[in-house]
């Protein structure tokens, strides 16, 4: 795939800008996020809390809370169609059947007063006009697919009667109901314990392989990323600072922030030594530092970083880094 032409991409986000207009001022939450995903591919969107990962996903889905959030620029192309210019009705129709979303906390994301079955079936009944009986049958199949034991009985149960892992499975089943081409999973395993996390990730990978679905996996967990991602977009302060093949990125990070993230991973071969941390905090989005937003925390920061916003530097093989010294960083200099 070339640097600029992503015409084969299922979803292409280009220079997406979102701001939150609050009483305390305008916060630029996304300052030009770009990424793309092809069918059957997994893109991990990696970043700290508040970096804009989830906002990007919501802007792509068209489910931002407006106000306070407003999309101020950029494009979100799905099969080449710019969703930001599509009618609300067109966007609604694409939700669920074109792009579907899996939320982080399935307990609050599922409606507590309806059965799990009802919540899967309603899409089939409202969107496809399926009969009550057919929808129920399909809901049971979907619960079977995500390996919920006793799907026939559990379809009649309420979310609070499910365990955390089972709830997330039900959530996945729900997102698959209309056979979407792209799944956006927003920290799907954060609320779960480690063993269940692995099961859910395996399930997602399996479903994706079976259906050739594009998957955008939003996470802050480098371990999860390393296992499943084909490509990675690292987000910092509302910008994609590095976008690269997963293998390339882990081998030699192309941005000081990525490098710092990788260093902060606890490693089994360095027992006893102190854990690396990234000093400082992510910037407040009400006052993003001038120049490179990472410069106050960057070990390589020089004068130019304090004044000039770095452009996206192409590093070959579809790799991009937003650092003045990208080539230096990637070569380990």
């Amino acid at each position: 795939m070339s640097e600029v032409d992503h015409s084969g991409a299922l979803l292409e986000v280009e220079d997406l800008r979102v701001e939150f207009r609050t009483r305390d001022g305008v916060a630029s939450v996304l300052n030009g996020v770009s990424y793309h995903v092809a069918a059957g591919e997994t893109l991990a969107v990696l970043g700290e809390s508040g970096s804009g990962k989830s906002v990007t996903a919501q802007a792509v889905m068209g489910i931002l809370d407006t106000p306070p959030a407003f999309v101020t620029g950029g494009a979100v192309r799905f099969h080449g169609e710019d969703l930001l210019r599509a009618t609300p009705e067109r966007r609604r129709v694409l939700r669920g059947s074109g792009l579907a979303m899996i939320f982080q906390d399935a307990l609050s994301a599922l409606n507590p007063v309806f059965t799990v079955g009802f919540q899967i079936e309603e899409q089939l009944r409202v969107r496809l006009g399926a009969s009550r009986r057919d929808a129920r049958q399909r809901a049971i199949e979907l619960l079977d697919l995500v390996r919920i034991p006793g799907a026939k009985q559990r379809v009649r149960e309420y979310p609070h009667q499910f365990s955390g892992g089972m709830r997330q499975r039900a959530m996945i089943a729900m997102s698959l109901a209309l056979d979407p081409e792209l799944l956006i999973a927003d920290e799907p395993t954060t609320a779960l314990d480690v063993t269940v996390q692995a099961q859910i990730m395996d399930l997602l990978a399996e479903i994706q392989a079976e259906r050739n679905t594009g998957l955008v996996l939003i996470t802050h967990d480098l371990g999860v990323v390393a296992e499943v991602a084909d490509r990675i977009a690292v987000v910092y302060a509302g910008r994609v600072v590095e976008h690269a093949d997963a293998r390339d990125l882990f081998r030699s990070p192309g941005h000081p922030y990525t490098a710092a993230l990788l260093e902060s991973l606890p490693r089994l071969d360095q027992r006893g030594s102190a854990l690396h941390t990234i000093r400082g905090l992510p910037p407040s989005l009400l006052a993003v530092p001038p120049g490179c937003p990472f410069h106050p925390r960057c070990p390589r920061a020089r004068d130019v970083c304090r004044t000039e916003v770095p452009a996206q530097v192409a590093l070959g093989s579809g790799r991009v880094s937003a650092c003045h010294f990208a080539e230096e960083v990637v070569s380990g200099g």
């Binding site: 809370d65 409606n111 507590p112 059965t115 899409q123 409202v126 609070h160």
Partner: protein, 307 residues
Amino acid sequence: MGRYVLRRLLQMIPVFLGTTFLIYVLVWAVPGDPFAGKCGERDCPDSYVSAMREEFNLDDPVVVQYGEYLLNLVRGDFGRTSSGVEVSDRIVETFPVTLRLALVALVVEAVIGITAGVVSGLRNRGFLDSLVLVSTLFLISIPVFVTGYVVQLVFGLQLGWISPTVSTPTFGGLIVPGLVLASLSMAYVARLSRASISENRRADYVRTALAKGLPQSRIVGVHVLRNSLIPVITFLGTDLGAFMGGAIVTEGIFNVPGIGGLVFRSVQTKEGAMVTGLVTVLVLVYLVMTLVVDLLCAVLDPRIRYE
């Protein structure tokens, strides 16, 4: 669920005994001659007083009196007033009227209150939202007897749109008193549903419903409404119980021949048998309503399960 209902029904027994005993003692054991003033200007003849003391067992200790009263209640005998009218006859006459008035008020309260609450809860700080907030505040700050008299005066006497008093206590005839009776609760229901809706429409499950590509009408009408109405229904249920016993003022203003007016007159004329009988019925109504509300909540919110 069955066990829960049984237990709740059993719990009603001590509550019932306690409340009826209290009212019995308050009515009969307070100082003062219960038959003073029953015979016009003159003192009652001794023969009448002794016959009455006999009739109401007033020479026994109060606990024994109460026991006798309860036994009669169980046999379906509510006793007679000092002028020999069967208390149960009067209850049968007046109760349907009050029930009708309460139902009219409940419908008014639910329909107008919930509609206003939903409309204003769905938009923030618009004109409609402010209108609902101000008008409910207005209603809440006016006592029912003011609303009642103003409505009667303006619409009944000056404009002549309605009959100032109720001549036939049918559902139609009770609409205006029902509106007055419901006015205060209607405002509370509107504010309660408004708060509940505006909280729920920001809930995570609403975003999920949105992400599923459901139409807005379904998201609000099914997902948000069902969750928002749980506290409102609880309020409505207990309010129906309150309407039945608490319509004294409204019934008085519009001359509705219901239980409220009967209680009021009975208290004024010290008709002990009538007061105890009526209060007993109202206590029962209230107890049953609370149970119905609790069961309804479990139906609306599956997270509530009664063991």
